[in-house]
């Protein structure tokens, strides 16, 4: 048996990589993929905890997170397509993403 903590550490590392991706990349699609990586690492933590506790609740959470991720992806990509049509750029600097 692999201890739950190993899985948790792995998920924390993947989550960190996702955070770095969002903060350093400037392409909206890649930022968005980094967010998916973050959600995915949370799912890994859920499933690992579910096995730790011997209950299925954690696995159910993964279901809902996946549904939400699918809805977010649909809306997000639609937005990106709409912006690309009008600006021909998805470089987030072109949309002043983090101008305070």
């Amino acid at each position: 048996m692999i201890p739950t903590t190993y899985y948790l550490a792995l998920s924390a590392i993947l989550f960190s990589i996702g955070v770095i991706g969002v903060l350093v990349r400037r392409n909206a699609i890649v930022i968005f993929m980094s967010i998916e990586l973050m959600l995915n690492s949370a799912n890994l933590a859920f499933v690992a905890f579910a096995r730790e506790f011997g209950t299925l609740d954690g696995q159910l959470m993964v279901f809902f997170v996946m549904t939400v991720a699918a809805a977010e992806v649909a809306v997000g990509l639609a937005l990106i397509v709409a912006i690309f049509r009008s600006k021909a750029s998805i470089d987030v600097d072109a949309v002043n993403l983090l101008k305070g």
Binding site: S11, A45, N96
Partner: protein, 482 residues
Amino acid sequence: MTISNLNLVGTLPLLFLSAWACGLLLVDLWIPGDRKHMTGWMALSGFAITFFWVSSNLGQREEAFGGMLAIDGFSNLLHLVFLGSGILATLLALNYLKQHDIERGEFYPLMLFSVVGMMIMSMAKDLIVVFLALEMLSIPLYVLVGFARTRADSEESALKYFLLGAFSSAFQVYGIALIYGATQATGFAAIGDAVAISGASPLLLAGIGLMLVGLAFKVSAVPLHMWTPDVYQGAPSVVTGFMSVGAKAAGFAAIVRIFFSAFHSLAADWAPVIVLFAVLSTVIGNVAAISQTSIKRMLAFSSIAHAGYVFVAIVPGGYGALSDFAASAVIFYLAAYGLTNIGAWSVVIAVDHADGMGSDISNYAGLARRSPGLAAAMTLFMLSLTGLPPTMGFVAKFYVFRAALAAGYTWLVVVGVVTVLISAYYYLRVIVVMWMNSGDGQVVTPRALNFTVGVTAAATLVLGLLPGPLMAIVESSVRGLF
């Protein structure tokens, strides 16, 4: 194989509004393109029916769906805030969409869906429901923010809101995962029991912190406020008025329920973080608002500052007997802010023009001469946002500061009062510009807009002069809940 404690009857208003939204999507197909305001009126009647339905039975104490949802005074009162902001924003949208040439029937069902998400958020008694409700209210908002597809800044602000919103909800999901790992539960009651036994572990605290990131983003608290000015400016103004009230109130509803029930015994750990949010938001929001020349950006920073005042009201929630008091102060403050802010945004809509002119504070010069009623109402709203008598904003701030004082946070109240004085500068500047300077801009005041301004102004004034009955209702509905 039956579900215990389903209680569909208790959730009927919620189910009704969801069904109304789905039905409206279908009905909208048969409404011709030039008469989409009919969809708006139908959405309005859905909101209104639900509003009166909920208000007829405020004092319920029930649970539904096996304890996943709570139907109580707290959620019912907040439902009125959400539905009220939905009603007022729909009224404004009837003309706004046509005037800006972005009229589409889907606008109204999306707004209904968003309100359904907010309602669920205030009822949620399980972290997974909180997460789903947050997404249910956010996803329609992302679309509504980008609804003005004829303007590039609307789409851009929608992308910005979306990416940062998804980023923060990823933090929230990870936080929920860690809380689940630390307590073996996602239901508030079970988490509360587990926490009371085991106390705070670093795993749990990390989870709470990450989850708070997601919620603080929704209520636009400093330091998670970066999106607010751009999004409030870029979004269609009706949507801004709606989301600045609805999304904020929903975020605070979840924060109050989570921290007052699930993490009540950890108050010593979370209170400093809430205090930090309160101080940063009030100070930075108000100071940054001073230098704004655009009224939309000014109101955006003002909204950040107001999130800070609500956090001031949440701080006492950790002090046993004071949590009911704190929850009533939060509800009252959100109601006051909602009425005033939607009123202010409807004046902004009246002065604003489809070509993007009219959103500067200088455009308000001479408004008192051109349109005295509008200027008088705006004066009232600005006084209320500052927190001066005889308005509801004053009573709300008084209420909030009294709760903080009762918990012994005198210095926090001092910070609050100082920031109120700072805010007076930029709110009163709008009044001065309206009444003292001369200028000539056109205002567009359709009947629905006049009605909205009138209702919100009257409510701001009347509830400022006679807050007693409403306060009594709020306190009696919330008593003993937390």
